[in-house]
Structures are given as C-alpha cells and as structure tokens.
Symmetry: D2
Subunit: 211 residues, 4 copies
Amino acid sequence: MPVTAAELYRERGIGARQAPIRRPALVVVDLTYGFTDTDCALGCEAGQVDQAVEQVARLLAAARAAGVPRAFTRIEYDEASTAIAAPFLEKMPALRECAAGSRWAEIDKRVAPEPGEPVLRKLFASGFFGTDLAAFLAVHGRDGVVVTGATTSGCVRATVVDALQHGYRVLVPRDAVVDRASGPHEAALFDIQAKYGQVVDVSEAEAVLRA
Amino acid sequence: MPVTAAELYRERGIGARQAPIRRPALVVVDLTYGFTDTDCALGCEAGQVDQAVEQVARLLAAARAAGVPRAFTRIEYDEASTAIAAPFLEKMPALRECAAGSRWAEIDKRVAPEPGEPVLRKLFASGFFGTDLAAFLAVHGRDGVVVTGATTSGCVRATVVDALQHGYRVLVPRDAVVDRASGPHEAALFDIQAKYGQVVDVSEAEAVLRA
Amino acid sequence: MPVTAAELYRERGIGARQAPIRRPALVVVDLTYGFTDTDCALGCEAGQVDQAVEQVARLLAAARAAGVPRAFTRIEYDEASTAIAAPFLEKMPALRECAAGSRWAEIDKRVAPEPGEPVLRKLFASGFFGTDLAAFLAVHGRDGVVVTGATTSGCVRATVVDALQHGYRVLVPRDAVVDRASGPHEAALFDIQAKYGQVVDVSEAEAVLRA
Amino acid sequence: MPVTAAELYRERGIGARQAPIRRPALVVVDLTYGFTDTDCALGCEAGQVDQAVEQVARLLAAARAAGVPRAFTRIEYDEASTAIAAPFLEKMPALRECAAGSRWAEIDKRVAPEPGEPVLRKLFASGFFGTDLAAFLAVHGRDGVVVTGATTSGCVRATVVDALQHGYRVLVPRDAVVDRASGPHEAALFDIQAKYGQVVDVSEAEAVLRA
C-alpha cells in the first residue's frame, strides 16, 4: 500500500522537532507593496495576503513589546543591481517591478519598520545573501528566528534554509507567510516542517516572542 | 475560473528562460549510498534512484570528455560537526546515518569521483554553504551550473538557489535528480522552473556540457 | 646574519607572481569624503590622498573606456546598522562619522560613480561582506580584480584578501591606495605583495584594464 | 611635529576597547607542523613558535576546564583543492607543502585537538572562509572569540577581521600568536589593536576563558 510523503518521513526520522528557541529574532521577509498588492505582477493571493500582513503586524507588536530584535528585508533593483541579479531577473521578469524608488519596493505601511529596525535590501531570494542579517543575529546573541512574510515558496523558504545553515533554529507561523498560489505555498510549508524548522500557529510563535 | 499556479506564473512574468550557459560546471549533490541505497533511512525512491544515478553517470562522462569542471558534495557528520549542525540534526534525526567513515557517507561507486574532482564535505543543505564551491566556480570562470543528485526538494534545490545567488545560471536535468517521494520532488521542480533555473531533459543538459 | 622579512620570504617561496588577469574588474573602496577629506577623523594622509584619488580617477577612466566592470564600496551607518556593527564601532568610534546622509558617507565627486556602476554599502572592512560584490564579479565572468581606494591597511586589504578567497587574482596599484599613516600603509602593501596579490605601478594596472 | 600612527589613531578615535566578551570561544589557527616546524618553508620564527604553542596549550587547557567551545583550523591541499586555491598557491608556492596526508598538514601534537573539537580544513586565509566556523559560533551562542595561532599577519589576522564582520568581539593574546618575521607580526598586532579587537596578555585572555 502506498504511503504518503508525510507517513514516509515520520517513519524515517524526518520532520522531528528542534530544541526550543529561547532568544528569538523576528524576520519579516519582503512585505513590500510589490508582494502585498495584487495589482503588482508579484502580488500574493488576494484574500490570503491581508490576513498574513495582519498576523505579521501582530507578531511585530509582540516582538516590540518584548524587546525581541526585528529585521525586515525588501527587494529593490536599480540599473546596477539589475545587472548583478541578471540570472534571477531573466528567470522572473516580474521582479523588475521592484524598481528603486517605486511603491512596489516600499514596505507595506501596515507593517512599517520603526527607527532602529534594520531594513535589509537584497537582490536575491535569501534574506541572508548579500546582507548583514547573519551579523544582526550574532551581535544580538540570538538562537533562533521566527520567519514571516512572502513568498512562502520563494524568499521565505530560502531565508529559512539559510537561517538553519547559519546555526539557528526556525519557526514559521503558518498564517504569517503567504504566496501567489496555494500549491507552492503548501509544498514549501511541508518541506520546511520536514527539514528546516517548525511550522506553527501564529499564537505559538507569539508566545515564543513574548517569553 | 480558477487558474493553476503554472498559468498564473506564465501570465505574470514568472518562469521565463535564462540566457544560455556557455561555460558550465557540473555539480553532483549528495549521491552517497545514504541517499542512493533504500536501506538507509535517507534513501531515495526505489526505481527512480537507479535511473537518476545512471543519468548522472552519463552527464559525468560528457563533462569529463568535454573538459567541463565537475564537483561533488557529500554529507558527513563526526562528533564535532554533529554539534555544529545541531538544528538540522534535531529536525532530521535520519541524517545521523551519514556518520563519518560509514558507507552512507561514501559516494556511490557508479558515479565515483576521479582524481582532481573536488568532493566537498558539507553539513547543511546547500552545496555552497561552508564549502569552497563558489571559489571553484569562480576560479574556473564558469557562467552556469548543471545541478544533479539528491534530494530534489532538499540539497539539490538549496544548491540551485545558492548557485543563482552567487551569479550563475542553472540547469536541472529532470531525470538526474531524485527524491524520497514524488510530491516534494515535483513541487521542487516546479519552483525551480518558475524562479531559479531551467528544468530540462538530460539530453539538453548533456548538449550544454558538450558544447 | 639576520635577514629581512623580504629576503626570508623570497627564499621560502612566498611572494611569487599570480597568473595574469585577462578579465579584470575595478573596485574602488571607500573613497567617500570621510576618507578623502582630512577634516574627518577617518581622513587619510593629506598630500597622499589627493594623489591617490587622482590615480583612481585615471583608472576609472581607463576601465570605462575599455568597458571593464567597475564597482564602488562605501561605509554608512544609520541607527539600525550602528547596532549591527557594534563591535567595529566600539573599536573605532571614529567610524560614527560615516552617518547616513552625511557628506562623510558620500563618494568624493572626483571619482563619482556613473549610472550603472554599483555603489555597495557596507558596514565592515571587506567590500565582499554583506554586499553583492561576489555576485557582481561572477555574473560578469571576471578572473581578477584591481583594488583601489582607502585605507590600505583596513578596507583595501580586507577586500584584497576576500577577492583572493573568492577565487580571483588581485592587483593593487601602489599609488591608487592610501592610508592614514605610512607605517600601516607600507606594512599592508608588504603583506599583500607577499601573500595575496601583486602590488604594481598604476600604469601596469591601467594596461591590464585597457588590454 | 610628526606624530606616530599610534598617537594619530588615539586622538582620532581609533583603537578603543570593545565591550567585554561574556561567552567566548577559543579558535586555534593553523598550528600544523607546517607552521610550527622551522624545517618547513612555511615555518614560523624559531624561538617564538615554541613559546606560542605553549601559550596556546595553556589557553586550550583553560577553555577545556571551563567548558568554553574550541575550534581548530588547518590548511591542506589535495589535487582538487590545489586547483580551487590556485591564485593563493601561485602567490605562495610554499603553501604546497601542506599536502594532504603530510606531516605539515597535521596539527602539532602539543596542541592536539580532543574528540568533539572541530578541526576545520580551509584553503585560504580566513578560518571562516569555506568552513563551518560561523555556524559553530552561532550554534554555541558565542559573543566573542579568542584568536590564537599562526601566522599573525596572515591567517590569524584574516580570521580576526572575519570574526568581527560576523558580529563577534575579538581578543588576540599577544604571545599566543606567531609569525615568520617580526615586522609583519608587529604590524598586524598594531592594526588589530587599532581596528578589530583587543591585543592582550595571555593571562587576560585566560581570565576571560575561565570567567
């Protein structure tokens, strides 16, 4: 009898739970209007995206109240960085919408960064790549990261993998991440839960941030 | 009328084709017995894995004949690296099978490295992380990478994303990558084709290596 | 009879010459007013700095004429990045002068970047750290880097070491790098020539850029 | 009246003291026989090197007693890695002495690693480059690094700069680092003290490890 991937993983020792995070950071990936506004070619699923932004706002409030370090990433291309990221932009011409200075490259005001919260500009998928996110986590003595934002199967997932590779445990609050389509979204959550971090309810992530 | 993710991506400008690769490298990800032998908890799908190993052998032969640089990665943990990779091993206890010196950490002889081909030991998902793979590609003046091996949704995908982020275009020959279950395998190929590289037939990758 | 370090190195096989660079890039490190204006606490040696800026301008002209890729780095701290770079700023409080938006964080107009030339903001010493410089070199298929700017013993040297580590050969045109004091400047050039790249006349670097 | 670089730096706000390290790690850089035995072309100054090895042994004992994480680096080249590190080996042909499996690539038994202490193989100068040292520090929740070993002006210095860039404060115990010649050794200590970390007595580093 065929088994599902979930059953197979469970019996193989894949998808267990990481040690608890005691000194978390909150990372908000790419919640610029380009990803939160369905008028942009990059925009996430209408209906889902407003809920996700709301949940991220809730987690930001918790992190701020608890003094937990927060960082944001955003994608933006000018003439020079368009050349550097050529292989990515060839593949996803829609990314050109994130033009420097445009509304699509601006973080949604519903989750606006506050002074002192780094907003890391990146050209690629992972929030760690070509940014100071690793130094941010190390200098603040973190042992884990709550990763939120968009898109689940793209920049969120790449950031999750890199967080693990840098030595951090990971929580992904299910309703605080969002994608353009449900297939890739669910597949990414499945893989994250199997291999890289815990996919949890927003309330569980909130409790970790407040602890 | 609901559209599929594929339709949505096409109309949005996601999933186009990157410029052709003129100076490729071939990377073989994690084809150790731990991943090619279904007796190991990490083993890939019986039936698929032998075919994938055969296709990688074919691509290796083409790359060797054409003088295209080749590199291998493999996962191996000793006592010290088990501690470093703790968040990954907590999540996937099955990875402990890749013990230093064990058969599971040894590259399958059907795709055995030849002298001069680097075999990069890694602790995490991406073949670039904590290895000299980026320097290998740069010193050989490459402009793209053919990524093969296992698993499609894990280390292959992470290596693909990092290849793109390092400035390289990517080809993934569909039948030269393999996974433990078809759901994650297909989802990873879908995402790679949409965002990071071209998923192609083995014959197309072979032609690029021979060009 | 005691030998000098130079003699010792020569007889030991240290300080040989790297293979010629055929596809160079030109990198201009930190020629912001903070480093070129002696009114800033970070400013380089009066007398030397104007000459160095002039030589960099000459190399920029050569690179532009030849279509050789150019990139600039600059240091800038806002509230958030001040926290990330805390260990560096504790050590060198003078770096706080490079405040976001200030003249000290602005590139000297004598070597002003042109549209399409990346200006990479960095928080630390190496031009590669937390930036997209490695992707810039890879995507342009470079095999070597001409490193210029300030300071020789600080960010220039750190960038030189990282260029080598990323797989690139290095030229440092002696009169196109500058420091705050001659002791550290000379010691850095000595070490670079011994271990990491060729310290050459500006005319030799110019010839490589024009070739 | 001319001022020394030291005086200049002091009045400019360069060379201050970083915040205290509360959760240190100890890193031992390249104390293989190739660097500790003056019969090797890479060997450090006779007379100084035995003392340095002895001081590192003392710091290792302190770190082990206090349960402070320790890591070692070593350089080793086989046929494949010789090609990857070509620009470095062209510059320093003496590095070819560190052949895989040779005595020169083996860590001096006076500071032999114990089980569980990672020995990170590297091809370049920095202990962080192409290794898992950053993940090691992060997973152990460190906030600073005591860097020891050889050579002061080469791999020690490069490791110090990278430790700072990764978000860590740095101590360099003066008598626990060693070089081939006193000029580059002293110049490196001067720069480290000015820009990257604290150059301290071994007893001060020992007290930090024991705290």
